[in-house]
């Protein structure tokens, strides 16, 4: 099913992006997820975002753990290298891959089970290390692939399809990410492409660790009445704090916001994040304030979405480690291997 060959016929009028690629160039294999699964919508948002950003597909590295969500990288960006690692350990693979080659874009896709249960440690620590990547959790409050157990992000009192009520405190991956020092933190909803696509674009271009918690209903196991991760529940309880648009440096500024309500966040490379504030108090550049607002909204039962926090001064692991500007995987023997006379002096020092 993966990489199923599609007819390669190309329609003459098909839309191309700045670098001459069509949408088809960003597609992947046929999805084997359940019809209606939220995850498929996220895949399509990813394809759209990368297309619009005009990134050559081979410059993206897609990584995942294990789960229905973690299968999705097979279903988008078929021309990108992909790595479907083991359950909960994608962040370490991403760290190694990124250390080896800082010149590519790293896109991690994970599930709530993958990241909030077995992978919680790796998730928290990859944030601490400021890895330059976009990390998306496709959050359905359940274990899809193992048939519907509650995950650690399920709310207290949320009922599983079998009728069991979750009794444990949920883990809020957004407050966790803010507290661990992520420099770009957002929440969105698989059903809201308009909100999601700009966030993915901005997250991919963010020069540090960017995180999107994307609510993504599991239609088979967690979309019933009583679940707090169902399409209906999210639609009803969702409150967006802002509307985002991302304008890469090279593009003209096209969006037209009412001036007063819009905050423009400019990054080093000149690209712009334009936030249309929906909640006047919301302040996406103060970490403590962002955390406080997320936590208070949670206490009140609201599902806040939008961009919660962004650090315009963000830097990444390579900058703190001061690694070579040429990717490590491109250094040759002459650069890496000391000559034998060096070894002679080491021998001398060991006598």
């Amino acid at each position: 099913m993966s990489y199923m060959k599609k007819p390669q016929f190309r329609h003459p009028h098909i839309v191309e992006n700045d670098i001459g690629f069509t949408r088809r160039d960003y597609e992947g294999g046929m999805s084997t997820l359940c019809a209606g699964c939220g995850h498929d919508s996220i895949s399509s948002a990813i394809m759209q975002a990368v297309f619009e950003l005009s990134i050559e597909p081979h410059r993206i590295v897609k990584l995942s753990g294990i789960g229905c969500s973690s299968k999705t990288p097979t279903y988008f960006l078929g021309k990108s290298h992909g790595f479907n690692s083991v359950h909960g350990r994608m962040p370490s693979i991403a760290t190694g891959a990124n250390l080896a080659n800082k010149d590519l874009f790293y896109l991690g896709v994970s599930g709530d089970g993958d990241s909030a249960s077995i992978g919680l440690g790796q998730f928290a620590h990859v944030i601490r290390r400021r890895l330059n990547m976009l990390y998306i959790i496709e959050n359905n409050g359940a274990y899809g692939l193992t048939k519907g157990q509650s995950s650690a992000t399920a709310d207290v009192g949320s009922r599983s399809k079998k009728g069991e009520t979750n009794i444990y405190n949920p883990i809020d991956v957004v407050s966790l990410a803010i507290d661990m020092g992520a420099t770009f933190v957002a929440r969105s909803f698989s059903g809201d492409k308009e909100q999601l696509v700009p966030l993915i674009k901005a997250g991919l271009m963010h020069p540090g660790f960017a995180f999107i918690d994307c609510l993504s209903p599991c239609v088979t196991f967690n979309d019933h009445v009583g679940s707090t991760k169902s399409y209906d529940f999210i639609r009803e309880h969702n409150r967006a704090v802002n509307k985002t648009d991302f304008i890469p440096m090279k593009n003209e500024i096209t969006a037209n916001y009412p001036e007063g309500a819009t905050e423009v966040i400019r990054s080093h490379d000149g690209s712009e994040l334009r936030l249309q504030k929906l909640e006047s108090e919301y302040n996406p550049v103060n970490r403590a304030a962002a955390l406080d607002q997320v936590v208070r909204a949670r206490q009140s039962g609201t599902v806040l979405t939008g961009l919660f926090y962004v650090d315009t001064e963000a830097n990444d692991l390579h900058s703190v480690l001061n690694t070579s500007s040429k990717p490590l995987n491109q250094l040759n023997k002459n650069q890496l291997c000391p000559e034998s006379d060096k070894l002679k002096s080491i021998n001398e020092s060991l006598r």
Binding site: M1, G82, F83, V86, I93, A100, S324, L328
Partner: protein, 616 residues
């Protein structure tokens, strides 16, 4: 006692409290022996804590070049009140005990076959040194000075070492020299000068160095081109990464920009550490991790992934005493089976067994070539004894014309040149396929790496036939690996025929080679084979064929290498006699020789030696 003095053949043992600064003083002594041109082997026996518990440092001096642990001690420097009585008992008959005589004690009554040499160390230091730390630290240097006199060594050697050690901190040279002089003088004047054990200058070490195995592994990884390290601290593997870091700082920082041509990340645990190394190797950087004991268990899930998805990986396992947390500061060779078959399912890993720091350096550099060539994990199994002690070994060599073997990798040009590339297609029929790095080509060569079953184009499959084809190819690759991994080294006893063979590996080497000499002297010639890698070469089985009895000498309880030998090919198992040493101390010549002699002695029946057991 001794009719005449014993030259260059004895053991000095220092008994100290850890955290008291004795380690560097004791090391100074060992290094001075080395500088005298005489083979020396120091061994640090330390507790699993930071301060206040007993620690020992054994220095064997051996003109014949026997650097294995001997056992026993001819001279004991007993600086730890907690263990004093045990330390007195350690001295071989006719030996010496050096102690702090500041508080008068009647030690003489303890043993009459030992000479007690008291030095009022505390007293001396109280008078000679002003500050408290100095008083404590210099006690150690004073006894080293005394040893210099007692063993009739050259004080100049010690002084040169002090100068080298404190290059840049010249202020420290003087007081150290003073402490040395005081000790020397005291021994000379008050203890009657040289004793019956002597170090005499020789020139036996022209191409030798004194180096720790872990230091050599770290350096080898720099030469091998490693650029990414993910690791998590654990004794005794930590110093591998520390060494890599030290040498990388020296050789891999761009002079112009100050940029690092390497990266080291201390991970949150071993699972993450190995994940980083796998991710980086997948992306085409050379990367490694290092661990010990529990770390190996924690890495086993990822070892299975790297095996099945065929990702190069170098893992240094510095073995310690198991099971579980076990004996964290003791040595064993007990991860052999768990590494060979690391992970659930049908997995088989490549193992290397270096037996000296020189080989650690070589194998370390080579392991990156092997991992790239074979696209699979390569686990280098060292141990605490080899890893954390200074071994007297051959100097390191490097051929500047040597190139990295990156194995079968297609770059953009390569991809353009081939048709119908598929990640797991066995086009060369050796089980090894062509891989690509992420981003290699703008439209070709991308594939999806996974730990689930995949077909030859890396696509997910549940087809039984595709699965079987894939895992049988992995067997083919495993077979191919024998062409590349280090062959066993075989030593036939010169000029003598024997039906006895001995198989060993790793840090057992020095004790074993001494034992071969010893047995040969007792007219018991043995041929010896040293295993250097797994899977095993045909030579191992031919060697077994050739002999009536083969002793398999190991430092574990369960005869793990013997188990590997029989797991790979049909052999006559009954010929393979295990000699097992596993109390956490390094194996000795005495142990090996006695085990073999007892086995062959018809009077010792049934063969039962406590730790050297025949039955398995």
């Amino acid at each position: 006692m001794h009719s005449e003095s014993v030259v260059n053949d004895f053991v000095v043992k220092f008994a100290n409290v850890n955290g008291s600064g004795s380690a560097s003083a004791n090391h100074l002594f060992a290094k001075a022996v080395f500088r005298s041109g005489v083979p020396v082997s120091p061994r640090n026996i330390f507790p699993s804590n930071i301060q206040g518990l007993p620690t020992w440092y054994e220095v064997r001096v051996s003109e014949k070049g026997y650097t294995g642990r001997r056992g026993g001690a001819d001279i004991v420097v007993a600086m730890n009140a907690q263990t004093f009585f045990d330390d007195v008992n350690e001295v071989e008959s006719g030996g010496y005990l050096i102690y702090d005589s500041t508080k008068p004690t009647d030690v003489g009554v303890l043993r009459d076959d030992v000479t007690f040499l008291g030095i009022p160390l505390m007293d001396i230091c109280l008078h000679e040194f002003g500050n408290i730390t100095q008083r404590h630290l210099f006690k150690n240097i004073v006894y080293v000075g005394a040893l210099c006199a007692l063993l009739n060594m050259e004080l100049g050697i010690f002084k040169n070492l002090i100068k080298e050690q404190f290059k840049g901190k010249e202020k420290l040279v003087k007081p150290n020299e003073k402490a040395l002089d005081i000790g020397f003088q005291y021994a000379h004047d008050q203890l009657g000068g040289p004793i019956d054990f002597r170090v005499e200058r020789r020139d036996l070490l022209s191409n030798k160095i004194l180096m720790e195995g872990n230091d050599a592994l770290g350096l080898g990884a720099v030469y091998g081109g490693a650029t990414v390290v993910g690791w998590y601290p654990i004794t005794p593997s930590t110093s591998v990464v520390e060494a890599f870091s030290k040498y990388a700082d020296q050789f891999r920082v761009d002079e112009g920009t100050g940029e690092q041509l390497f990266s080291i990340v201390q991970a949150e645990d071993e699972l993450s550490a190995i994940g980083m190394a796998i991710g980086a190797n997948w992306s085409g950087a050379r990367a490694f991790t290092a661990t010990s004991g529990p770390g190996i268990s924690l890495m086993s899930e990822f070892l299975g992934l790297a095996y099945f998805a065929e990702i190069p990986l170098v893992l240094f396992n510095i073995q310690r005493g198991g099971p579980s947390t076990g004996l964290p500061t003791r040595t064993q060779q007990s991860d052999v089976v768990s590494c060979a078959f690391a992970s659930h399912g049908d997995t088989k890993q490549i193992l290397l067994f270096p037996s000296s720091p020189t080989e650690c350096f070589e194998f370390s550099a080579q392991s990156f070539d092997l991992a790239d060539r074979l696209q699979t994990p390569v686990i280098v199994l060292s141990d605490l004894d080899l890893g954390m002690n200074d071994w007297c070994c051959d100097e390191l060599q490097w051929d500047d014309s040597r190139e990295f073997d990156r194995g079968k990798v297609l770059d953009a040009a390569g991809l353009d040149a081939v048709e119908n590339w598929g990640r797991y297609r066995d086009v060369d029929s050796d089980g090894i396929c062509y891989r690509t790095y992420p981003g290699a080509h703008s439209s070709k060569g991308a594939y999806f790496t996974r730990g689930t079953s995949h077909d030859s184009d890396a696509r997910y499959t549940e087809s039984g036939a595709a699965y079987v084809e894939n895992v049988e190819r992995l067997l083919r690759k495993y077979e191919t690996s024998k062409k590349y991994i280090p062959k066993p080294i075989i030593d036939y006893t010169e000029g003598k025929k024997t039906s006895y063979g001995i198989i060993y590996y790793g840090s057992t080497e020095p004790a074993l080679r001494e034992s071969l000499d010893e047995l040969l002297e007792g007219d018991l010639p043995l041929n010896a084979l040293r295993i250097r890698s797994f899977p095993l070469h045909a030579e191992v089985y031919e060697f077994i064929e050739q002999h009536k009895t083969i002793f398999v000498v190991e430092q574990n309880r369960d005869a793990q290498m013997r188990q590997l030998i029989i797991s790979q090919q049909n052999v006559d198992m009954s010929k393979l006699v295990p000699i097992l040493h596993f109390d956490g101390t390094p194996i000795t010549e005495r142990f090996i020789s006695n085990a073999i002699k007892d086995y062959l002695d018809p009077k010792v029946m049934p063969f039962s030696l406590g730790q050297g057991k025949r039955a398995i």
